[in-house]
Symmetry: C3
Subunit: 137 residues, 3 copies
C-alpha cells in the first residue's frame, strides 16, 4: 500500500535547502509504522542529497569542491545556451542523485543522527522545483 | 503488488542509449495508476542516468567531463587486464548509479519535462547489457 | 508486504567491507520470490557501492582515484574539526550513495555476475556503522 504526494519549492539560487521537516511531516501524516519513503526531483540541474546536518561549513565545502571539479564557464563544455552555470549544473546533478529512498521505522523517517535531506540547487538563480514523495508500507 | 520484467540491450559502445520509451511501455503494459518503477543494471562498467533529453550537446559534454576526470589509460590504475577503458569504466559507474527509481502517477512514468532515462555505456566497444524492471503499485 | 531488519558493522577503517553474503542471507530468510531489497546506511562519512567483486585491484584503484579527487587535508576545506579525513569523507559519500535497491528474482538477490555489495568506509579509523535492510514482495 502506498501514498503519493506532490509538492514544489522555490529555491533561493545555488545552495542547499533543508527539506527534512517537510518530508518527516508527510511520513507522520501517512501514519506508516514500517516502510520506505521515496523522494524524486523532476529536474536535471538540481539534485537531492543526504548531507551532514550539523556544521554549515560542510555545505560550503561541498560547493567549493564542486566549483573546482566542474566550474561554471568550463571551456570544455559546448552546451552553454542558458549561461555558464548550465552545463556545470547538469554535471553536478549526474554526480549526485535525483532521488532518495529512506526507511520508515517505528512510525518515523529513520535518518541517521547527522543525516539531513537537502534539495541542492545548482543553478545560480532561483528556480521553481517539483518533487514527488511516495511512501510505502 | 509488483510486476517484474527482464530485458537486455546491445550497446553500440561508449555513449548514451535512450531507454525512456522502452520503460514507459512496460509501465503502460502493467497498468499501474500510482506507484514506483525501479530499473536495475546488472553490470559494473555501464550505468543508468536521468540525463537532460533535449540538447545532444549535454551528452557530449558529460563524456568530455568524464574523460578529463577519469581518462582511459590513467597511470594511477593497476586494474588494466581488459584494456585502458576498463578501470575508468568502473570509476564512472561508481560515480553515477546502477539503479533508478521513478514515480508512476496518473498511469504514466512521471519524469520531468527534460528528464530522459539513459543507459550510459562506459566501455569503448559494444556490450550486451541486462536490466531488470520492477513496478510497484 | 515488507520485512525490515537492522544490523550494524564495525569497519576496520578506510576501505571496502563485502556485505553481499549478509544481505543475501536476509533475503533467503525472508523467503521472497520476486521483489526488491533496499539497503540504507545511516551515516554521512561512509557509503554503499555495487563494486566489481573479482579483482581486488579495483578497490585499490577506486581508493587511489578518490585520494586524487578529494585528498585528505585538502586546503579548500574549512570543516576540519574531526581531522584531515573528515570533509574528504563527506565528499566521497555525496559522490557515491547511502542506499541501494536490488531486485529479488527466483527467491534470490539478483546481482550481476561481477556485482558485490560493499560498505565503503571513508574515515581512516575504525567506525561503528548502522544499516537498515527492507525487503518488499
Amino acid at each position: 500500500m502506498l501514498t503519493q504526494y506532490k509538492f514544489d519549492l522555490t529555491t533561493p539560487g545555488r545552495g542547499f535547502s533543508d527539506i527534512t521537516d517537510e518530508i518527516a511531516k508527510l511520513v507522520a501524516k501517512t501514519d506508516v509504522a514500517t516502510g520506505l519513503c521515496h523522494i524524486f526531483l523532476h529536474h536535471t540541474s538540481a539534485s537531492l542529497s543526504l548531507c551532514e546536518n550539523f556544521d554549515p561549513l560542510v555545505q560550503r565545502d561541498l560547493e567549493a569542491f564542486m566549483q573546482r571539479l566542474t566550474p561554471d564557464g568550463d571551456p570544455i563544455f559546448h552546451h552553454t545556451a542558458e549561461g555558464p552555470d548550465d552545463m556545470s549544473s547538469h554535471v553536478r546533478t549526474i554526480l549526485t542523485t535525483s532521488f532518495l529512498m529512506i526507511p520508515v521505522s517505528d512510525n518515523k523517517l529513520d535518518l541517521g543522527r547527522y543525516q539531513g535531506i537537502y534539495l541542492w540547487e545548482h543553478r545560480l538563480r532561483s528556480h521553481h522545483r517539483k518533487l514527488t514523495v511516495t511512501i510505502y508500507r
